[in-house]
C-alpha cells in the first residue's frame, strides 16, 4: 500500500483478505486525520469501515482472496462519506434484524454483530446494487 498516494486519491483497493483490514484502517484514519476532524468520531468511522469490509470478505466473497474491494472517500462540507464497492453476492445490511445478544451467548454463537455496530456508529448506512456491483455508503455527519 502506498498510503500517501492513497490519501491523495482518497481511494484504496484491496484484495478480499482479512490480512488487509489493517491497511483499510490506516487508510481511513489517515484520510480522516488529514481534515483535522474530531479524533473520537474518526475511530468510529474506522471501526465501521473495518466491519463493512469484514462482512464483504466473509459473506460477499466467501474468503476468495482474488476478489477486490474498492474504498473511496468523499469529503463534503457537512459530511464524510465512505463508498465501498464489491462484485460479490448481494448483501443488504439493512435487511438484517437487530441481534439478540443474550440469546447468542446461550447458544455459544459469536458472530452477527458487525452490521449492527456499523449502524450504531454511523449516521447513515445505504446499500445499492447495480448489475453485479454492490455499493455500501457509510455517512458520518460533521458538526
Amino acid at each position: 500500500m502506498n498510503l500517501i498516494e492513497n490519501i491523495e486519491k482518497k481511494e484504496l483497493i484491496i484484495n478480499s483478505s482479512t490480512d488487509n483490514l489493517s491497511d483499510v484502517r490506516a487508510f481511513i484514519q489517515a484520510v480522516w486525520n488529514s481534515y483535522g476532524y474530531d479524533e473520537k468520531e474518526g475511530k468510529n468511522v474506522v471501526v465501521s469501515v473495518d466491519e463493512a469490509c469484514t462482512n464483504i470478505i466473509k459473506h460477499a466473497y466467501h474468503f476468495d482472496t482474488t476478489k477486490t474491494i474498492k474504498i473511496k472517500v468523499e469529503n463534503k462540507k457537512d459530511r464524510f462519506i465512505v463508498k465501498i464497492t464489491d462484485t460479490g453476492s448481494h448483501f443488504n445490511p439493512n435487511g438484517i434484524p437487530e441481534p439478540n445478544i443474550p440469546e447468542k451467548l446461550k447458544s455459544k454463537k459469536g458472530g452477527g454483530l458487525g452490521i449492527y455496530l456499523m449502524k450504531k456508529l454511523m449516521d447513515e448506512v445505504k446499500y445499492s446494487n447495480k448489475g453485479n456491483k454492490n455499493e455500501l455508503i457509510l455517512v458520518k455527519y460533521l458538526n
Partner: protein, 115 residues
C-alpha cells in the same frame, strides 16, 4: 498485517489472558485458540486484561460471546479488566456491561472470583 498479542498466566485457580494490539477478524482466531486451550485444561475462571489492547472490532467481541457460556456452565466466567476508553465504548455500545463484569483493575476481578 495486524499486530496482535495474546498470552496467558495463572494466578491460583484463575487464568489471566493478556491481550495487546489489534483484535479484528484477522487476529480473532488467535484468541479463540487460547480459549480452546483453557477449556482443554479445564480452566474456566478467566480474567482478560486489555491494558495493551488498542483496537477491537465485532470479531473480537464474538470470541468472548462464543466461550462465556461454557465457562459459566463449569462454575467459571470471563471477566474484563483494564480497558482503554475506545475499546470499552465498543463493548458498551453493544450492551456487554449487563452481560459481563468489567473492572478497572485486574486485582478487582481476581477478588471477585475469590469471594
Amino acid at each position: 498485517m495486524a499486530d496482535f498479542k495474546v498470552s496467558s498466566r495463572e494466578q491460583g485457580q484463575i487464568c489471566i489472558i493478556d491481550v495487546g494490539g489489534y483484535l479484528d477478524a484477522h487476529t480473532a482466531s488467535e484468541l479463540e485458540k487460547e480459549f480452546e486451550k483453557l477449556i482443554e485444561d479445564g480452566q474456566y475462571k478467566v480474567v482478560v486484561n486489555f491494558s495493551d489492547l488498542n483496537y477491537i472490532s465485532s470479531a473480537g467481541l464474538g470470541v468472548f460471546m462464543a466461550y462465556v457460556e461454557t465457562m459459566r456452565e463449569h462454575g467459571g466466567d470471563i471477566k474484563f479488566t483494564n480497558l482503554k476508553e475506545d475499546v470499552y465504548s465498543i463493548f458498551n455500545l453493544l450492551g456487554f456491561p449487563i452481560l459481563y463484569e468489567f473492572f478497572d483493575q485486574e486485582e478487582d476481578a481476581i477478588k471477585k472470583f475469590n469471594q
